[in-house]
């Protein structure tokens, strides 16, 4: 289909295909200002996740009991104090930046693992024999009704608390939603004309799954994944609060939120900034995924391409 669209363009463009794809994406991004902001923010987050800990670790862990719960917006102080300080007088700005790495590792890890496993199992459950499907679906029921907290206590008690284990715990608990979503879609799609046709024409199951069905399921899954990012970060916060998640001196946004909890009524900034970081990340991921969905969809792409030249 992509080929079909491209062939309608002038030959000149087809020659310079490599750069033009990037340029076109950039143009389409430029066309959607919300998505552009989101992309810039996410790039910033990723850069911070990579360089943050080495760059600011010292600032972020320097305690100052006299500067406890320092209020934000005191612009006459050093830049890193602008967001205020936490209960140990550690500046919040650098702490949030340093925490980005752990946060992103846990959240992205958990979301990606659960999405991949869930989707694969869902595809299988939707396509395989009834018996296999039954087994997978009942397994999903079991995971769904296994309280995530209990999973956390068991895994962390037996294996010890670490970022990797926490990621696993959160990933396990999120598998069923991807699994069930994928399977439901597969059940529906496999009855559709084009899949039936492909089957008649002798396409292998694998080919039908990955070429015909997966592309239809992916938009819904992306929406779920971006939302799960927020969910996982907050779930991790709740686990920290109960003493079975990430524990200091490690930091994550979720941990910062749960540590600020008791100061909510008189030092709101302690949990507000990391909370805002989570909100902004979720928002950006979602805006970008909505944009990506349009940009990758040959049928809808014109919306962005129309706007592109006008604004750019």
């Amino acid at each position: 289909m992509t080929m079909a669209i491209q062939s309608t363009h002038t030959p000149k463009e087809t020659v310079a295909e490599e750069p033009s794809a990037i340029v076109r994406m950039a143009r389409m991004l430029w066309a959607d200002k919300f998505a552009l902001c989101a992309a810039i923010f996410l790039v910033f987050v990723i850069v911070m996740a990579i360089i943050g800990p080495t760059w600011l670790d010292e600032l972020a862990t320097k305690q100052n009991l006299r500067g406890r719960n320092l209020a934000p917006f005191m612009f006459d102080r050093e830049w890193y104090m602008w967001l205020g300080a936490d209960a140990l007088g550690r500046p919040l700005w650098p702490r949030i930046i340093v925490a980005t790495q752990n946060t992103m590792m846990v959240a992205a890890g958990a979301v990606v693992i659960s999405a991949i496993i869930g989707t694969l199992l869902g595809l299988i459950a939707g396509f395989a024999s009834e018996r296999v499907s039954q087994v997978i679906m009942r397994l999903a029921d079991v995971i769904m009704s296994f309280p995530s907290l209990l999973v956390a206590v068991i895994v962390l008690y037996i294996l010890g608390s670490s970022i990797l284990n926490l990621m696993l715990v959160l990933a396990i608990t999120r598998i069923p939603v991807y699994l069930r979503t994928t399977r439901a879609e597969v059940l529906e799609i496999r009855q559709r004309m084009f899949v039936q046709a492909a089957r008649v024409m002798g396409a292998s199951s694998k080919r039908i799954l990955f070429r015909h069905i997966l592309p239809v399921v992916i938009p819904t899954l992306t929406t779920l994944m971006t939302l799960d990012f927020a969910y996982v970060m907050l779930a991790e916060s709740a686990l920290s609060f109960l003493g079975i998640g990430i524990q200091p001196p490690e930091i994550t946004w979720g941990l910062m939120i749960s540590q600020g909890r008791q100061y909510l009524t008189n030092a709101w900034w302690l949990s507000f900034w990391p909370g805002l970081a989570i909100i902004l990340t979720t928002l950006s991921l979602n805006l970008l995924s909505n944009w990506l969905r349009i940009a990758l969809d040959p049928v809808q792409r014109w919306r962005l391409e129309m706007k592109g030249p006008k604004h750019g």
Binding site: T61, Q63, L65, R66, R68, A87, L88, V153, Y157, S161, F241, L242, G243, I244, Q247, P248, P249, Q259, Q262, Y263, L264, T265, N266, A267
Partner: protein, 505 residues
């Protein structure tokens, strides 16, 4: 247009609902108390546990004696009118007459004996049994109002110990009960698990009739909500709120709550088996800097694991100064003598163990690292904490320090010292013959001799053995509605006597 109509309708119904909230103070002598944790049982023999004791101790179930903490008169009579020690070390208690249980039965010596037997029954695991470990009891009913306790070994503080034993009527099931019957000024009239417990004043109580006629207990885990409930007039008393919420001078009171925070050192493992290293730990911590910041201003720096109101508390023992240079020097000395001071030390703390525990422990870690210790800080939940805190300790463990909180509001160090310092104590990291000897002698002594021996022990543990890093005697905050006349005390943590609550005007 439509949406604005809808919004109006919703708002209208919200206001209508709001107007329907019943006034809280229906009768002015009924009060509502909001506690952090629901009692899972209302079992009299478990009343020494704070979540149970705060509801029933001395309200529903009474004891033979009680410890007076407000006017510091020591052990006072309650169900026993007087007592004396006979020649062979046995105790004779003369019981109050004309006392009735809330089920109408008369109280007598047989009930006391039954209550005792019940604690030691194998049909239950009563918590109060732990105070009588290693003792043999011979309880004899002399007559209806007299009872003899013969204990082996002789217990000089038996009257104090009896302030921990609640009396139930003869015939109470040996298994745990959920509906306590007692001689107290109140009786349980309603318990809806998860929602509320209601106590009503009894007309046939033997003593002075208390001002509060009815007390309703509700439970909210969040301290901000507890404070908000008193502020909003939905409750009259929140015995424990957090320090950050305690901002209103008229309603919020602080009280020394008998909890002591300390770092328990496992002195069996190098480098913590070296006294210089332990001293360095103590000198490295700037205790004063915590006061008014992470720890309430009114908290007291600890020199013993028992609060200053305890018998034998030693005023001559001084808090370690903050002296990082001296700490560094001691560490170097130890290192020169071949002590492996570079071994990383694990500090284990329990989440939500006490207010600000995370921040306090992070600050402690920073201060220890400042003088050259290698500290791994580890936060665990309650079950795992217990594994580190109590014996049997794991074989092959590294050097471990456990941050813990210990509660002794009972006025005598015997509830503390054996467990925390004796070589057989469950949380003791030491086997020091001198400590064992002092504990044994102090436990058997009476009067001034007893106080002197405890003082000696406290000084030895702090100055010579440097057994642990003592930090703070903590302070609790409670919010009391302005219509109530009540001041919390050191006992408030584990016991909340409704008869101590009065009304203004």
């Amino acid at each position: 247009m439509k949406t604005s109509h809808l919004f109006g309708a919703v708002l209208g119904s919200v206001i209508a609902f709001g107007a329907g909230i019943a006034p809280v103070h229906a009768a002015s002598t009924d009060i509502k108390i909001v506690l952090p944790e629901e009692a899972d049982l209302l079992e009299p023999c478990m009343a020494t546990r704070s979540n149970i004791g705060r509801v029933i101790m001395e309200n529903v179930s009474e004891t033979l004696t009680e410890l007076d903490v407000r006017t510091k008169q020591g052990v006072m009579p309650r169900l026993a009118e007087k007592w004396e020690q006979t020649g062979d070390g046995a105790w004779r208690f003369h019981l109050r007459q004309g006392v009735k249980f809330s089920d109408g039965k008369a109280f007598g010596a047989k009930d006391v004996k039954y209550s005792f037997d019940r604690i030691f029954s194998d049909k239950n695991v009563c918590e109060s049994r732990r105070y009588f470990g290693g003792m043999k009891f011979d309880v004899k009913v002399v007559d209806d109002n007299t009872i003899d306790f013969k204990v082996d070994p002789v217990q000089p503080i038996l009257p104090l110990l009896l302030s921990l034993v609640t009396i139930v009527p003869e015939g109470t099931p040996l298994e745990f009960v959920r509906e306590p019957v007692g001689t107290g000024p109140y009786k349980l009239s309603n318990w809806t698990p998860g929602q509320q417990i209601v106590l009503d004043a009894r007309d046939d109580y033997w003593g002075k009739k208390p001002a509060v006629t009815k007390a309703t207990y509700v439970f909210r885990a969040d301290p901000a909500v507890r404070a908000a409930m008193v502020q909003a007039g939905e409750a009259d008393l929140a015995p424990s709120i957090s320090q950050v919420e305690a901002t209103n001078e008229k309603t919020d009171f602080s009280y020394l709550d008998s909890e002591t925070v300390y770092l328990r050192i496992d002195g069996n493992i190098a480098p913590l088996n070296d006294v210089r290293v332990r001293k360095a730990l103590n000198l490295a911590i700037d205790r004063q800097a915590f006061l008014g910041t992470l720890v309430p201003q009114d908290a007291v720096l600890a020199t013993a694991l028992v609060p200053p109101t305890t018998l034998g508390w030693n005023p001559d023992v001084k808090v370690f100064p903050y002296d990082p240079d001296q700490a560094k020097k001691l560490l170097e000395e130890a290192k020169a003598a071949g002590v492996p001071v570079d071994t990383p030390i694990t500090v284990v703390a329990r989440t939500a163990n006490f207010p600000n525990v995370t921040e306090i422990m992070e600050a402690v870690q920073a201060q220890l690292q400042e003088v050259g210790f290698k500290i791994d800080l580890k936060f665990v939940e309650v079950a795992e904490h217990e594994v580190y805190y109590s014996k049997p300790f794991k074989d092959g463990r590294g050097p471990i320090i456990v941050a813990a909180m210990h509660d002794n509001s009972k006025g005598d160090p015997s509830f503390t010292m054996f467990f925390k310092y004796d070589s057989k104590g469950t949380q003791s990291g030491y086997a020091d013959p001198k400590v064992d000897d002092l504990i044994a002698r102090a436990s058997a002594a009476t009067g001034d001799e007893r106080a002197k021996l405890w003082s000696q022990l406290i000084a030895y543990v702090h100055d010579d053995l440097v057994a642990d890093v003592l930090l703070f005697h903590m302070v609790g905050y409670s919010r009391v509605s302005e219509r109530l006349d009540f001041k919390p005390s050191i006992a408030t943590n584990g016991m909340l006597q409704l008869s101590e609550i009065g009304f203004k005007n």
